[in-house]
């Protein structure tokens, strides 16, 4: 960005004197100028109705000119009291509610909840159900990342990836629809396994998707990876060091982009993830660009997992032997899975009745959003938009 665009808002004289004086470098935003425009701190309200906040996030920005001095997130606009609702529902009745938290990755939410309740029963889904679950969850991870990529690129100004991503995501939603009748809030799994058997042609549909998706993911990369504007807007933006990630509890692709090779599917394998061969992609710099690369790689790894699961799909029952009326024994468990956004945990306290005594959801988006302040301090306002996008938050999950 050259000086003339930066100083466009100043009167010609002022700009002239500034350049002539030669003293303050105009790109050095730390320098206090004498113009009224950047002499004082400005508090700017961003959102909650703002397209780049991915829902209803309100960020109060403290600015010095275009430089961000600090932020404060105001959340809760989408708070529905999911945890309170759970206390007045049976275990089975609460199952569809979890889909409404992270609604772009509803399948993962359902998986985490079902597994947590199964843990209370000290039971496990049968092998075939586990494989079906893995296939659908990985499809869901790809779909979630596609929504992320499309919207994130749109925020930064690239329009095309949005169309590409949503076009390809459609194929995944079609598989969901054929499997369970719903596209977004799927309620695909039940406690103890799956309720629906894989439909005729399920394996073929998944294989077709995998075959078609890999060239598509290359297309995404063609559009962005070496795109000069994209690189300029994402490289070195919103850097999080690994120790900061850990201190802030950040998980998922954001953590991995900082170079921490940690994925719950490998660290504490659930379902049948032990049986599958896949890599954990990591980044180096922990900036927005690395997080983009990590997520693109993750989509390809998911394809690998889906292919293996489809090929090895065992036969057998799809529901474990669990009672019709669910009354888990008294106790409390915490179970977490690697959702597309990070560690999604459920802490469930059972008092032996048909309704959970307490359900606590540990939402990855909520905890990751906390890192926003750290990531944007000293950056420009436009970078806030990029960083919100790269954190991949879903406000339904932040607010619950």
């Amino acid at each position: 960005m050259n000086d003339s665009t930066r100083t466009a808002y100043l009167s010609p004289q002022t700009a002239q004197t500034r350049r002539g004086a030669g003293a303050p470098d105009l790109l050095d935003l730390d320098t206090k100028d004498q113009t009224f425009l950047d002499a004082t701190e400005l508090v700017l309200n961003m959102g909650p109705q703002h397209p780049s906040t991915h829902g209803v996030l309100r960020v109060i920005l403290k600015l010095d000119g275009e430089k961000v001095l600090g932020t404060e997130c105001v959340i809760g606009y989408l708070h529905r009291g999911v945890e309170k609702i759970a206390e007045n529902r049976t275990y089975t009745m609460f199952n569809p509610y979890v889909d409404r938290m992270d609604y772009v990755a509803a399948v993962s939410n359902g998986l985490g909840y079902c597994e947590a309740v199964e843990k209370l029963f000290a039971t496990e889904a049968p092998q075939r159900a586990q494989y079906i679950r893995v296939i659908l969850t990985e499809l869901c991870r790809i779909a979630s990342h596609q929504v992320w990529l499309g919207t994130h690129a749109l925020d930064i100004g690239a329009l095309t990836p949005l169309f590409y991503c949503f076009r390809d995501r459609e194929e995944i939603l079609k598989i969901f629809e054929k499997y369970c009748g719903a596209r977004l809030t799927t309620h695909a799994f039940r406690i103890g396994g799956c309720i629906y058997e894989a439909y005729d042609g399920f394996e073929q549909d998944c294989k077709n998707f995998c075959d078609a998706f890999l060239p598509k993911s290359d297309e995404y990369e063609e559009l962005l990876t070496t795109n000069r504007i994209w690189v300029g807007r994402t490289k070195g933006i919103g850097i999080l060091k690994p120790e900061d990630c850990i201190a802030l509890g950040v998980t998922g692709p954001v953590l991995r982009a900082s170079g921490v090779k940690w994925d719950l599917r490998k660290a504490q394998p659930y379902e049948s993830y032990k049986a599958f061969d896949f890599e954990i992609p990591t980044g180096v710099n922990g900036d927005t660009y690395d997080r983009y690369l990590v997520r693109i790689q993750e989509m390809r790894q998911s394809v690998r997992i889906i292919r293996q699961a489809v090929d090895g799909l065992p036969s057998g029952p799809i529901v474990a032997k669990i009672p019709k009326v669910l009354k888990p024994p008294v106790g409390e468990v915490y179970h977490s899975i690697e959702a597309p956004k990070g560690e999604l945990g459920y802490f469930i306290v059972s008092d032996g009745s048909t309704q959970p005594y307490r359900v606590r959801v540990r939402p990855p988006s909520f905890v990751n959003l906390q890192a926003l302040d750290k990531m944007v301090r000293g950056m420009l306002v436009a970078d806030v938009v990029a960083v919100i996008g790269t954190l991949d938050i879903v406000l339904g999950e932040v607010d619950r």
Binding site: A247, P329, G331, G352
Partner: protein, 269 residues
């Protein structure tokens, strides 16, 4: 506000109040009374009232031979097995998972030995439940234990902080810290029991992530943390009354009040 908290139960529909009164029982006592509640559990597949199970067989099965119903409690015992027998197999299957429910096992490890040697009776319990480890510590040393877990035991990732409310208990709140160690790939829950109004020291200085998590606990339960940099509501608006995840929080009353105040009409609830 205090009126409201006392009022709600009569207001709530029966279907809501009944389970919540059951569930108010604290887990320890619930565990000890497990065997009696199993027998009851069979009958309470239908609502737990004695009246209803008697009513169902009367309508569905043969002649109401249960005329001895209004007799003494002693003869109610034989009447009770009769009622479940008339029902489908579901109640029969149900008691088994409850009686076979896993029990917490004592957890022995170097970590526990270290903690015990340093804090003695401050460590009240160290157990595993379905393979998940947890330590119950005295609230006075909670912060010290957490700091030690972070610094000496390498639990560098604070996964979650949350609370559970048991209104009938002397110390009605469980505050649960879920910790994870990247080094050992191990997850441990640190639990502490506090009374209503008791303040805990904030863990923000140990894990910055505790900031929002503690704010949420404050918002939902009204538990305050000393030394927290910015303890205010996070999900609910600032002027909100009460703390919704407390068991005595009246949902319906709150709804009615809102309709009354904001719309000026009677709530249809």
């Amino acid at each position: 506000m205090s009126e409201e908290t006392k009022e709600p139960n009569p207001v709530l529909p029966e279907s809501l109040t009944r389970p919540s009164t059951n569930r108010v029982a604290e887990p320890q006592s619930a565990a000890s009374s497990l065997t009696p509640s199993v027998e009851q559990g069979g009958a309470s597949a239908d609502p737990g009232q004695p009246g209803t199970p008697a009513a169902t067989p009367a309508t569905t099965t043969e002649k109401p031979a249960e005329t001895p119903k209004p007799s003494t409690p002693l003869s109610e015992a034989p009447a009770k097995p009769a009622a479940p027998a008339a029902k489908p197999a579901a109640p029969a299957a149900k008691p088994s998972p409850r009686t076979e429910g896993p029990k917490p096992l004592p957890w022995e490890s170097e970590l526990v030995v270290n903690l015990r040697s340093q804090y003695g009776s401050g460590i009240k319990e160290a157990s595993t439940y379905v393979g998940q480890k947890y330590v119950v510590v005295d609230s006075a040393i909670c912060y010290e234990v957490l700091r030690r877990m972070r610094e000496d035991e390498q639990f560098d990732y604070c996964v979650d902080i949350t609370a559970v409310h048991y209104p009938k208990r002397e110390q009605p709140f469980d505050v649960v810290y879920i910790l994870y160690s990247f080094h050992d790939n191990e997850r441990v829950r640190v639990k502490t029991l506090i009374t209503d109004g008791e303040r805990l020291r904030s863990a923000v200085s140990i894990w910055p992530t505790a900031n929002w998590l503690e704010r949420e606990v404050f918002d939902m339960f009204g538990i305050e943390f000393d030394g927290h940099p910015d303890l205010k509501r996070i999900l609910l608006p600032d002027g909100w009354k009460g703390h919704p995840l407390r068991k005595d929080y009246p949902i319906l009353q709150q709804d009615k009040d809102w309709v009354q105040i904001n719309l000026g009409i009677e709530s249809g609830q």
